[in-house]
Symmetry: C2
Subunit: 217 residues, 2 copies
DNA sequence: TGACAGTGTTACCGATCGGTACGTACCCTG
DNA sequence: CAGGGTACGTACCGATCGGTAACACTGTCA
């Protein structure tokens, strides 16, 4: 019984896996998973550089060696966080498609509506991937690479959607919409509710409609 | 005899102020100024958190105490850097007004054209103020406050310009344009030349024209 | 029962972080 | 020449950074 500042007694909120936990409970089960989740929350909320590994392991209720058994370095942990974020992003991005089959315009606008709602909420910190490219401008950094790959994929996806909706210049419209999205991510961190993102859907709508109406060739 | 890695012998490149420097030359003249300029370049290029004070003073050819005589802390030095950036921003933003008197639309589009040109160049790292809000999400941080103030002012200035150009809903148009600007700052760091910013002017033009044409009331 | 994978514990590493106490060379004023 | 303020450098501080070594313990599965 070490009993040096009872750490394990604190995280009462995360009681969801063990039913009343009768056993020894020294091992909180799945250290790597807890690290990944905790690091994700901290990295997103405070920024990657601002969070030390010590804070991560403490907050996750594990120890440093456990972290380094699962991740070769903090940089790679950051990259893992961004891969998780990437997966979550695509889930959010593609989710509205189900309600708008064969309607790329509706799909896109529905995503934007949800984004505008999310961006107004407390604790919104923009896109973790965009933030990472700013925190790590070095293109060789693993975190930067994961983030950049996501952005390239998003650009392609947007172009495909714009093509599908019959835009006169799909690439240009896609880039315009990408600017709006990135602008929403960034500006919603400075302005809280009532920020520029409130104009996102209206602006995108106007832009799409104007682009569809533009005569081709 | 300390002589642990001869630092002072290295910075031979910064010879630009003293003409052949016949005198003692121990003091490179105006330490505070050199610090401010060097810190500005480093902070912008690599990010504020990524740059230590040691690197700043070494790169500026001065010493740490000199830095702390002119600036109470690194955080305040960062705030000073952002105030300089703010001044530079407004210079760039208002410069095109001279060539477009009484033409807010032309003024704004000219700024965007210049921005698109700059954003394509090597070493472009977006808006230092936006980057700072991401590096320091804490609203109480001096760097965050300077940056946030700039963004609020920009939003107001854009609204004024949109009002002047007779937009049906100036606030909405201003917010849409602000999204485009912030999106340009952010995305130009991931994508080099040929990034989404190439659509900035065309998108803004389309958006402005569509907003002017919209029937009021 | 025994091997094993995964974890916690403790203690530590060198490097770097932001920041400072203190001495010194200069220049301007008397 | 004396004196004092200004500007600077040398050397150092404690704290924290990311990362590691060595060992004890626990539960699972064969």
């Amino acid at each position: 019984m070490p009993t040096k500042t009872v750490r394990t007694a604190k995280p009462a909120a995360s009681a969801a896996s063990e039913p009343t936990a009768p056993v020894a409970a020294t091992a909180p089960r799945r250290a790597a998973e807890r690290i990944r989740q905790t690091a994700g929350e901290l990295f997103y909320r405070e920024g990657i550089r601002a969070v030390g590994v010590e804070e991560i392991v403490h907050s996750a209720g594990v120890t440093k060696p456990s972290l380094y058994r699962s991740f070769p370095s903090k940089d790679e942990l950051a990259a893992a966080y961004l891969r998780d974020f990437d997966a979550g992003f695509w889930r959010r991005f593609e989710a509205p498609a189900a309600e708008h089959p064969g309607d790329p315009r509706g799909h896109l606008l529905a995503y934007m509506e949800a984004l505008a709602r999310r961006a107004g909420r407390d604790g919104y910190r923009g896109c973790g991937l965009t933030n990472a490219t700013i925190e790590y401008p070095d293109r060789n950094h693993p975190a930067h690479q994961v983030a950049a790959a996501n952005k390239r994929a998003l650009r392609e996806r947007l172009t495909a959607l714009c093509t599908a909706m019959g835009a006169a210049d799909p690439a240009e419209l896609a880039d315009g919409l990408l600017l709006l999205l990135e602008g929403s991510y960034a500006s919603s961190q400075t302005f809280g509710t009532g920020g520029p993102v409130r104009a996102l859907v209206a602006t995108a709508t106007r832009l799409i409609d104007a682009s569809l109406a533009a005569k081709p060739g």
